[in-house]
Every structure is written in C-alpha cells, then in structure tokens.
Symmetry: C2
Subunit: 394 residues, 2 copies
C-alpha cells in the first residue's frame, strides 16, 4: 500500500518540463540550435575558475578528512565563512550559529517552511511565483495561499495581501529578484511588506516569519547592488543557492541564514539539523561545502543575462507587447497578445519558439521566457518572435 | 511559533555523540592518541584512488555540463551503471528504472519509509538497531516498533517477530551486516523472514515491504560473499550507501534499488522523485553521482576492520566476556560484565576507554565498540581493556 500523497503527485505533469521535452524532441528533428528554447531556467555561463581550482586543491591536498562526515549542523568553517561574507556585504551581525548549509535554495526553503508551518497553518506567497513552492508547503500539511499579482508592476498587491493575512498565517514567502517576472522588489515594497508583517504579528500575537528565497540575488541589472530583505524585517529566514551565481545547480549547495535579530534565531538553526535527520538528508556533500568558501564574494560572469534581457525587452516593446522590464534574473514575463496564454504558447511552437504560459506561476495571460541561453541564439530568435506575433496578432 | 516536533528533538541528546564529545575533550588533555575512542562509526581507511582519479578527470574534462541539474529521478547514466552492477553481482534483473540515487543510506531509508508508511502505520525493526531509524519513521507519523533481540545470536527472534506483525505493519526494516552487533543474517534467517512476510502479507491482504539497510554490505569477514536480502523476497527496497565501502561518508551518496519483482517497482522509484521534491532535496551532488560510477565494483581496502575485529574478539573471549563473533561491519556488541551497561561504560571512561552502552540500540546490558580505527591503537587499547575488566569485575 503506497502512500497516496506522493503517488497522486505523479499524475500532475509540469508544463515547463513538458515544453522542455518538446524542445529536446524537436531539436532531434531540426537540430537543437534551431529550436528557440526559452523553457528552462538552467544557468548557461561557465563556473568561476576559483571554484574549479578549489575542488582540485582540496582533492590534491586531502589529508584523509576531506570526504568525512560533516557535523549535523554542517561544516563549522563553512558556516563561519558564509556568516562573515553576509555580515560584510549586508551589515547584519551574522555568526556561524545563524547559518545552516543546505542542498540549494530548494532544501533551504523546504527546511524554512518546516521550521514554522504545520497542518492548520497558512503560508502566503505572491503571484507570479515558482510552482515548486507547492510541494515544499503542501507536504508539511500547511496550505500555500497565493496573493494575486499586481500585474502593472509585479511588485506586491498590498490590498490583496492585507486581506489574506489571518491568524493562521505562519509565514510569508517572497522571491526577489523574481522567477518568473524578473522584477526586483523596491525598497518601498520591502518596507511596506515589513511594516505590514509587524502590524499583523502584533495583531495576532505571534510572529509571522518572512521566508526570503534569493537564488537570483546576484543577477541584477543596470549596475544596481543586490538587495537584502532581511535588513527590513527581523524575523526573516534567508534562503540562498549558489546554483545561479556560480552556475553549479547540480551540486546542490545553498544555505539558510536566520537574521541574528530573529526570535529564537539560533534555535531555528539547531532545528534545521533535526529536520535534516528526519528526511535523512543530513548535509550537502562535504567537498562542495568546502569548495564554495573562496567563491562567497564572487560570481560567474553573469553579464550575458542582462545583454539578453535588453535584446528581448526592446523587441517586445517594439512589437507593442505589454511587459515589465526585469531588474534581474534570467526571466522576462510579458503579457500574451491573446487572453489564453496556453493557446498562445501552443501557436508559438509552430515557429519553434518555446515559451511557457504563466498559468502555473499563478498569472494566467502572461508567459515566461528563460533567456539563460547564448546571445547569438537570442539574436536569431528575435526575427522569428517578430514574425510569429505580427503574423498571428497584428 | 516554531514547529514543536523538531523543537522537542533538540532536548534528546545522542549518547553516542556525548561520548564522542567526551573523547575529543579528553584528547585535548592527554593527546587523542591516548584516548581509546570506540564511539563513532566513522570510516578510517583511505578513499580508493579510482574515486579520486575520476573526480579529477571529470573536472578536467568538463564540457560545461558537469555541474548542471540532474533530472528529477537523478542521473540516468548513473542509475543505469548501478543497475548493471547489481544485476551482475546478485543476478536480479535490475534496470535503471529500479534505481534512485540518494544522499547515502539515510536518504534512502527515509525515502523508502515515506513510500510505504504514514500516520496509522507501523514499521517493525529488530533490536539491536541503529537509533536514527526513529527520526526516519517518527516524522512520517508512522510508529517504529522494535522486536526484542535474540541475544544469543543476534539473528531474528522469530516468535517475538510473529507476535508483533499486525494489520498495521506496512514495512519491516532490517540491517545486515548489522550496526551495532556486527552480525550478518544467515541465509536461514533471511529465508524464514521472507516466508513470514509472505504469510502475513497474504493474511492481511496487503504487501508488507522489506526495507533492507545495507551500508555495510561490502564489509564481511572470513572470505564470505556479500549477501543480498532482495533475493529472498520480492517486495524488497534495498537502501545502500557508499559511505563505508568507499570511505566517503561526507559526500552523501547512496541509492534506493527496488527489487524488479516488487509490486509497482517502477512507480515506487517515480514516487521517490516526488518525495525529493517535497523535502527540497532533489538529487545528490552531480559530480559525486558521476564519480562513483567507476567504483561500483570496488571498495577501499577494508581488511583493517577484520584484523581489528579478530584482535578485540579474541581478547574479549579470553576475558570470558560473552560476545557474538561479528561476520562483518566495524562493530562488535559484547555483553557488559554488569547488568547496567551505562554504569559499565562510565567506569570504562576512567581508563580512557570510550564504549557505547547498548540501551539506545534497544539492547540494554550490551555495549558497542566501533573499531574503525588504526590497528596500532587497537593493539594499545587491549591491555587497558584487560586491566579495566580484571580490576573491576574479576
């Protein structure tokens, strides 16, 4: 007798994955270079040489301890290095005891939700949102509630947000820079969010935690600095991943960083160790934990993403497509020229353009383009995009 | 409001960990080489050179795909290689679709339990048992029930087992070669276990799954071949780890292998992918998955463990301590010369002998020695052990 909650999940196929599989199959027919595959958010830039050199150094200089067990709260020297980097960069007094290394942002968010939310609780997030938030929340027994998008700006729809906060709200989950919109929350948005959380925490007599999903933190455009939601609100659990900043998504490395001013900050980190015991995951791979230490304050060369964004954005504007200009990430989230973005996306396939409808992100009528591909391919795709939209909608 | 189930776990300190911390602290006083630390099951032999060479080769020959995402069911070429190795070694028709790569046996067991057991279900295991089975089972809502030990042989106490099987039994969890007893289940034991599971599956009208925890599979003594419980019972979920066979416990790599004859075998593997989504763990590190491929049919030089076992076993026998001779692992589990093994273990500390009482393994009155240490140190410890037991109990 298999456990039904997992078995039922098998029926629900991911639209993104289906489109990606289409792109791969179509690539076998006409050559993948001729499929304009904007489906997957898979980083495309090389790994920084510091990461590779550190891996080699660790292996060559192994004294027999390199591949040993990590302690249950992950490697102390790595936690220390992450704390120092965060402290230096964002000015909050992080210590090793506020850091827990995880298998990417996925592991970090799933831990953060388990710290705070259980059956009977609600976690709020804002459309458009990353659909994997559902399994992280659903399997704790809590309920994920989605605040409708402010489709003009993709900042926060504050009226809708306030009306959805309740006694049951255990946590609010944000993602800035945002997948799929590419939008970066302004300081004004973060301030208003923090003020609202303080107001409603007081009203309901319990802290409402902010879980801040930040895998795209370092991919910001127009020369702006990465922002830090934790600076606006004490009860913030930062969830970070090195997948995008270092282009190592398969190595599954990230962290939970609890704001030092958070209630029970160090207890939360100790609880992360217990969550890991229960899921049998324990720690990220030792060598990967160690290898990111010299890379904490660097990134891959991420400039291609901004270049691609500008090319696509300018073309969309020229075609009179409604679109909010991304402030970061490698996504853009335009309004489809017809109401049904699923139908739009199907028609695009006739042009070998693989675009993901926004429905699964909680924003029907929009579509996502993941432009973590070569600029050369972006350039070749633009006349095709132009042809598709002109022929079909103009 | 923090989730209490995890918070409560913080209070329960592990006896093994406390003793290990004592050993470390005492080591700082008198030199760690003078502390006879038999507390931790941390493999001590070098990593095989094939593993290290493959890591270097993968890094040097990376075409930009090495660190990319694994598919949600883990890397297909790795699953294929594991299936072929198991098929060749154990004669069961494994295919890639029966394999799911995990973060060690911990991840494998936690996944296996989640496949089968939820609130209202029972999972049976046999004393003496690895205490971490508790978090794997408890956090699913199911209940872990421990069948009392057959302390004469540490094989299975079949009468007690039969009396504890019930309609609620979803799975039976075994560990052979066994931590902490070092005992390997005989073919007769495995046959009787399988017959009983078939009988009771039929009686209750649902399959009772066998979850087989096999991290010590390759550490067997007296020239015997590793055994394979899956060959005795179709509905077996094998849980393996490379931590001990390759001495890479920190790299968190193992697998679930569902017996091809198991009901819904391939569905179970697909469900593993969904479990991973929910816990945010996804896949083991890509480079580690890849690096074990040339190491599937090899091990580190494990001969030190058998040498150590023989030295300790002979001394214990000579001291008239009751002990079952281990058939594998790097553990031995003698009867304490007084009824209270906790008191015995405390007295041993006066001799700088760090021995773990059997209570947390579900076998009070016994104690565990983890002899994954240098033979030189074992040799130095034996006169001390002799002195302790003679002075205290003879």
């Amino acid at each position: 007798m298999l456990v039904e909650s997992y078995r039922e999940m098998l029926g629900k196929k991911s639209v993104i994955r289906e489109l990606s599989e289409f792109a791969t199959a179509r690539g076998k027919e006409i050559g993948y270079e001729n499929v304009f595959d904007y489906s997957l958010g898979n980083p495309s830039v090389p790994v920084p040489k510091q990461f590779t050199e550190e891996m080699i150094r660790l292996i060559n200089e192994d004294d027999g301890t390199l591949h040993g067990y990590s302690p249950s709260l992950t490697l102390p020297e790595v936690r220390q290095a992450v704390a120092e980097s965060l402290k230096k960069r964002f000015g909050l007094p992080y210590e090793a005891d506020h850091i827990f290394m995880t298998s990417g942002a996925a592991g970090a968010i799933a831990h953060a939700v388990r710290l705070i939310a259980a059956a009977g609780d609600e976690v709020l997030t804002f459309a458009p949102f990353f659909p994997e938030y559902h399994p992280y929340v659903d399997l704790t027994g809590a309920v994920l509630k989605v605040v409708p998008a402010d489709t003009e700006t993709f900042q926060i729809n504050m009226d809708a947000f306030r009306s959805m906060l309740s006694e049951r709200t255990a946590a609010v989950l944000i993602n800035t820079p945002n997948n799929p919109s590419g939008v970066v929350y302004s300081d004004g948005t973060l301030q208003a969010l923090a003020d609202t959380l303080r107001e409603f925490s007081a009203k309901y007599g319990h802290p409402i935690y902010l879980i801040s999903d930040e895998p795209y933190r370092e991919i910001v455009f127009d020369g702006r600095e990465p922002s830090c939601p934790s600076r606006f609100y004490d009860n913030t659990i930062m969830c970070y991943s090195f997948s995008k900043s270092l282009s190592i998504p398969g190595e599954r490395i990230g962290y939970v960083a609890v704001n030092p001013a958070c209630e029970d900050a160090k207890v939360l980190i100790q609880m992360c160790g217990q969550i890991s015991r229960g899921i049998g995951h324990n720690c990220p791979a030792s060598i990967i934990q160690r290898a990111i230490v010299p890379c904490l304050d660097i990134t891959s060369d991420l400039s291609v993403y901004e270049r691609n964004m500008n090319l696509i954005y300018d073309t969309l504007r020229d075609l009179d497509v409604t679109v909010v200009r991304p402030g970061g990430t490698f996504y853009i989230f335009p309004k489809a020229p017809e109401e049904d973005a699923v139908a739009f996306s199907k028609k695009a396939l006739n042009y070998d353009l693989v675009l993901v409808p926004g429905d699964s992100f909680g924003a029907p009528g929009f579509f996502r383009m993941a432009y973590c591909i070569d600029t050369e391919k972006v350039e070749r795709s633009l006349p095709v995009l132009r042809k598709f939209i002109t022929e079909t909608y103009r």
